[in-house]
Symmetry: D3
Subunit: 290 residues, 6 copies
């Protein structure tokens, strides 16, 4: 059901409290002692109009964050958003137009674009993989393989791209991975230990590599199984076995080339690390029109 999958129209904005520190940090990192070029060339009285342009087509995410960058330097800058988060920009389309003092526009430019290009890159990569599996019910979910310090923003960008979020951290759900199974000495033992100690509001997912492990996990009554790096046929069999018993998640090196056949197995979720850790930035620029 497409409605279930494409959440763009329902994208809920983040509170600035959640990214205010990241924005200040980025600005201070760039201009800790001032902008020697702009301060020499631009008078505090100069005004300008500028546009943020998409140089390549893509899904936009992070407009409010970029706006916050500009407003941290000058709350008086006026920004008009032409392409909202969760919507697509065409090549050379104006995403935001800005008006006000020229000096803070030029000084904040790079920090603002760095956020917007990074987050839009993630949203675009997510959108593209979501589109490839549109005929199937599977959702695309992201992982904890995010850029240090930016997880909340990157998870938001995935939602802007039409994807869903897996765990936000180590504390909001149980995911028993291969290394946990090694330490526990087996799938069943790991699950039992968790069941004895985990809170009642925490779901349990287990990573399995084989159908035997899957069988053990299902018999222990877990909520979800992460089917890791399985060949498509084995994956299809695993999905069949788990039907109505656990949510199924495929993971491991899934690419645009393989996504469709994986989704066709009927798996519930396709989790993809690279949409957060390796998505190329969207090409954006800021142009001053005097």
């Amino acid at each position: 059901m497409p409605n279930n999958k494409n959440l763009n129209s329902e994208l809920v904005p983040l509170y600035p409290l959640l990214y205010d520190e990241a924005v200040r940090r980025a600005l201070l990192e760039d201009l800790a002692r001032g902008d020697v070029t702009t301060d020499a060339i631009v008078s505090p009285e100069d005004t300008a109009k500028a546009r943020i342009l998409a140089r390549a087509p893509g899904r936009i995410a992070g407009i409010a964050v970029a706006s916050h960058v500009f407003h941290c330097l000058d709350p008086g800058l006026q920004l008009d958003v032409l392409v909202c988060d969760g919507n697509d920009a065409e090549a050379n389309e104006t995403v935001v137009s800005i008006q006000g003092a020229a000096r803070p526009i030029l000084t904040a430019e790079r920090a603002a674009l760095n956020f917007l290009a990074h987050l839009s890159g993630i949203a675009t990569a997510t959108r593209d993989i979501v589109a490839l599996i549109a005929r199937h019910p599977a959702r695309v979910v992201c992982t904890r393989k995010t850029t240090p310090g930016l997880r909340v923003l990157e998870k938001y960008a995935v939602r802007a791209g039409g994807g869903s979020n897996h765990r936000f951290g180590l504390d909001d759900a149980v995911l028993i991975k291969d290394n946990h199974i090694v330490v526990a000495g087996g799938v069943a033992e790991a699950i039992r230990r968790v069941r004895r100690r985990a809170g009642h509001m925490v779901k349990i997912e287990v990573e399995v590599d084989t159908l035997d492990q899957l069988d053990i996990a299902l018999n222990e009554g877990i909520d979800a199984v992460l089917l890791d790096n399985m060949p498509v046929k084995m994956l299809a069999e695993a999905v069949r076995l788990a039907r109505k018993r656990a949510i199924t998640e495929a993971s491991g090196g899934i690419t645009p080339k393989t996504a469709e056949e994986i989704a066709a197995t009927g798996v519930d979720l396709i989790s993809i690390g690279w949409i957060t850790h390796s998505a190329p930035a969207l090409n954006l620029s800021l142009d001053v029109d005097f």
Copy 2:
């Protein structure tokens, strides 16, 4: 001269003071309230041996940062570094081996790998583009298009990949860009304003798009010119004009395909944004060997 270009053997480590906050932030982002999975399965008394493996070949950067992640949770963990920063790992080669309490190893795993994979990805992308132009004297330099909050680490990763660093921020050199020229009303006027105000220890670079602009800039006596998005022939002519008068830097959409012919123009520097903003993470994993 290759010695000039490949600085790996002389890679100077960063002081932990420069990334301590980023590391704590990343850990708290991941486990603010604890690791519900590991805490349920692993006893505080359990010990383990583990290895960080390169799943794909690449240039390593960020070992000390990843170590700092582990040591923030448990200073008693023992790490042996098998592939140092600035060196190459082969596929499936062990980069670091770790020994000690199993619980902090599993809990710190993702935060540590997120740093190491991100920085090694940048180092690898840099190394590859540096290799492509090895026959020419040009250096590869990075830009300010970095991930918010990680600039110092990403600039370091570029050095680990054999590249050099351009400006660290808006405050350590003058770079007059197209938008400055628009506001100033011309190349010459922008340069003159800077010369009147900039400190004596600050170099001046100007972005030019045409040979006419280049001519104006050279006549003003600047230190470096950023030759933006020029066709190769125009670039070669620009390099010829600027010889012995200014450092020359080529920029704008330079790819592995075009790097060699651009370097062949004799340009001094090739600046590439994507080695920091769009390099895919290096594929790394942590495996527990009980």
Copy 3:
């Protein structure tokens, strides 16, 4: 099954990273400009032996936090722990003995005791209510009604008292409360909106006040129901209706007097706000024995 309920023997310690900032803040709040009394009376060379005593019997929680307070002033202080977290101290029993420089012992005393008394108070209140329902399978769980800035520590203290933790925040599980139902216009609609948007690893609990609401919620297939302020008979009926369909949680003004009859309904969880927001501090003192 008592093993399921009393987790003391398996209490997992918190990483100091999770409370380091809280400890520094507490110390700076108390001695921002120094300890004018101790600095006037005690020489930096003086040494002392001291003991932290329980003045009243109680369950101990926070030893590592209190130790961290002392070590923030003087890493050379030697602490011997006689009653560990999750264990009970009798009146006048020595909990920790301390040896080293007298000055930091006296200066850190109050900040250390404030943590230890607060957390042990929570653990003691939890222990006592857990003991009252020991014959029944119900678990005691805490809520988000915690002291601002100390949630991770207070949730830990609940575990030290033998209780379990409900949600840690607004982000790790869905709990549809009365106000959400008002805004959504009904229980069913609220659940449907959540189901459309919540992640696959997030459980859904709904607060219901009547058996009709319970019926609606169970038909929507939620994971847990919070049965709020129900008379015991209605609660028993609700538990019966929800059996095998959802986890049941009783809440609302549960006191030591009413806990046993509530647990006797067979409810799975009893959630109690006052164990975190209103538990009296455990009476502790630090005595110097010269």
Copy 4:
């Protein structure tokens, strides 16, 4: 003189600078990655009216802090304060009414109530003990036994309850306690050391357990004596001895039952730790009226 004692009518507000960090910390602790329930159910466009109600009668403290919580998420929320800090709310009385976007009201609810309930609980406990000794001139003062990180707010809540503040930290007055006397080797020696070193604007108080110690302290000419855990008769004698020579402060396990007879001794101050460390939170709720 009652005017001296009941300061409510003169309660001076705190500058938000003094609690801004505590508020942000509390919000981030609760919703670091967003409010999954509210974000799924409530549209950013929905508006609501809500009321904060006192569920039990009590003295209110912390309205501005709670307001700051709401405004950190949405500066556009409109709050009308019906019961100001330092005034009493009856059971089921509306303390604050709120109007604006529904989403931030629901998301900030718990963090705001946690502050308000905690501080109002302290104010209420203080008010009640102050009322019990209203016929006597003694003031109720709080101690340094406060919740880590919240001292400034808790001291303010004591003032809202009609109490006074003792020292704020280790740096604003000298209080020679039993442990200092042990280290110094006697009351007189401890006082002399302090007199030699303390600043001229710092008062000196000494804790004494016996009338002999009191005699020594008075002969050394101190400003105040803390009469610790004395039986009422001994306390009365001590107060008589110290009259016009030092301020007298009774401390040690003073309860509502014993407060009146202690105040009747004519002691100047009654210091009570539990009004800050063990006062139960005031029962408050937030109700949305659509």
Copy 5:
């Protein structure tokens, strides 16, 4: 050319982001728990008019910082600036007039004046030494000998005094000092090491004590030479030798007495540490006119 030297008329303001933390820190350092005097005497309803007066003549710097101090306590205070940064105040001239609530004016007074007096002291010292060499082309530059935590503000104050800024930190230019030369084993070797590794946008300056060292440095082709502690005659000779080959900077114990003869050598820059580390504060006061 005086225009080149006196930049006051072109003084570019700092973004508040660059000093916001320093201002909050200063306020919290002064009034962490409130202002016991003002809160006792001044009602929150009292209003006042006040003036900041220069008690001695001097160059003003830091008005925006001082304003930010007041506005951190009360954004409603109205400040009228009568003497702007970079301009001179006469003795007893009103620099700023303030109107609004009396309480925050009195409480913020000291923190605001501490910034303004410190920065104006630096600006005044700079102005005075700049005036002494007005007939010569030399610029006065400051050093990294600044007060810890205030470098950006102090560098700004130097500009307000008509001086220029040398390096802001260890990262924005190369300055090879005597200790580096000792470690490298000589001037030439030190320069060569730097040339091999420094970025292309970084200028290189070398400290030399003798004409021989100068000769070596010039032959290596550096950008600037720091002529340290040279007698005036040697300095003049050094300047002659370096003409058109490197920027020349005189340093080492330059006082108002010696500045003019040093400038007369034709040296480009005179660097003076004491304008930042030892300039006496400008005498300012805040007077309330009821």
Copy 6:
């Protein structure tokens, strides 16, 4: 009595917790992105011996702070302290010798010296003014006119110079100043308001300009009087009037020239702002001896 006045031999060290943040801030301010000079010239393997020398005679303060700077970069550096805080260094005397890795020594040099020179400058200025009044019982005290962010350290430096500390902030004592008196409408009214509201452990001092005001203040029974800017004769009369009734403090433009005659009036305290806000830094240098 000299013993009362010269506290050097009893100087109590500060806990690093009190200056750790200031030290990290200063280092990051100086080398946020690394030390481009040292990193190019000095190998991580190079070791060095260095000495911190007093270039001028002075009183030392801040050794532990400077050591903390070095150890923040490299905990392995070995420092031997030859002149301790509170002792005098002669010109060209070695204050500290340092041994270890050359790179962190050179990189930390300036940040460490900035602290040590600033604090030793304050200690030296204090020492000198204390010496001038050595024949009289008056103590020298500092004020709240300190450098923003460094108050705790500067107050410590005053103690190292043999001076005493007045208030640390607005919260540890009452000082009714001229502006308060203006707002209150008179000395007596201001004192009465304070007496009604101030805590019992807070002393009250009043600034008076005339003998009439003094008379009013003494009749109100205050603890101390600040005799502001009085001619010596009037001061002597004021001291006589206040004898045994209040501590007397002289303030207002006291210089080395006037200090002795002011002390001769028998005043208890001489408060001097310039020892903290305008003391010139002590001339120190760090020399590497290979």
